[in-house]
Amino acid sequence: MYAFDYTRPASLAEAIEAMRGDEAKALAGGQTLIPTLKQRLASPATLVDLTGITEIRGICLKDGAVSVGAGTRHAEVAASADVRRLIPALSHLAGHIGDPQVRNRGTLGGSLANNDPSACYPAAVLGLGATVHTSAGRAIAADDYFQGMFTTALDEGELITSVDFPVPEKAAYMKFVQPASRFALTGVFVAKFAGGVRVAVTGASEGGVFRWAEAEAALGRSFAVGALDGVEASPDGMIGDLHGTPEYRAHLVGVMTRRAVEAAA
């Protein structure tokens, strides 16, 4: 790991100021960034530790949506009574990220800023059509936020402050675990709203998390596994690596979507 200066601001205002510094980088749970620093894949001059900022932590209800602070850890989302009651699929997703120690440190904001193509939270944010709020005062719709693997709509130095998750009628997340990394080899988040169905797929595409339009249309007509008869994902643009071929992942997309519909219905 290269050397860096470390600072731990106590307020969002101080953190925004610190992020203006040359080559400053935010540190949240560190569960992605610290391994990255160890591999010398990042070399910030200053690390701005966000864990001391209470303003961006915690869960509340806001205009019928569940608002989760960016600094809220996975274990807190999994244990929240409000999340369990209103969006049990989100609680389940958070409670199955990595392992207990990762969940005790890792945060929603860190996961979304990183936008790993195999991460779980991006599927929930896109699947539920959530809104990402930032330190620049922007409210970014999920459909605009994710811009390809490890790429997001965030500007340099811009911090995620909270995410508002609309409450669906029904939802479920099904993850086919890659057993070594514990990330999703393929994961699918299905959510049914009064106005339609959203299907978000993670772990499968070279473009990162995406919405599966054909499945959304079919499930919009009838929210049942049978509605997906003959609906298949194309292997074009799917990830091929030592864990699975594009064809295998395309197949998994179909299987996990059906399982998610079954679990939600």
Partner: protein
């Protein structure tokens, strides 16, 4: 160099560290508490698990400076005040929950966090909880047995070793 202060196993400690100093380095190299092990250094094996403010974390994936003012507990803090093995440690010995012992400090610290939250875990819950603790030797079976037995002892029940 910045200074960090925290409480480790009930004792106030402090030392000079760099921004990049990991908690596990501070414990092992700064304080000489070498019971906390580094297995992978890639956040995956759990040999380095300690408690920070009562929660289990991977000490190889936390900076020392991030623990300013924190209460830290390591395997050295798990024995009884008279130096005899604590309940979870004794259960690992009794039920052959270790072979080489390299993973054991992390296993014990992880188990202690589980049993604090869930006094009567099912075998499945124990296995799921140990997702982040890798053991190369035992095949996990006796580790799970040891944790189930420790849970029973902590609940005040009698268990016979096999």
């Amino acid at each position: 160099m910045p200074k960090v202060s925290m409480t480790v196993n009930g004792k106030a400690v402090s030392g000079e560290v760099e921004g990049r100093t990991l908690l596990v380095q501070f414990l092992r190299e700064g304080l000489g508490l070498t019971g906390t092990h580094v297995g992978c250094d890639t956040s995956q094996c759990g040999a380095c698990v300690v408690h920070v403010n009562g929660e289990s974390v991977k000490a190889c994936t936390v900076f020392a400076l991030g623990c300013e003012g924190a209460e830290v507990r390591t395997i050295e803090g798990m024995a009884n005040p008279d130096g005899s093995l604590g309940v979870i440690q004794a259960a690992f010995q009794e039920h052959h929950g270790l072979q080489c012992g390299f993973c054991t400090p992390g296993m014990v610290m992880s188990a202690a966090d589980l049993l604090k939250q869930n006094a009567s875990p099912s075998e499945r819950e124990v296995r799921e909880w140990l997702e982040g603790n890798i053991c190369r030797c035992t095949g996990y079976h006796n580790i799970v047995k040891a944790i189930m037995a420790a849970a029973a002892t902590l609940r005040g029940e009698q268990v016979a070793a096999e």
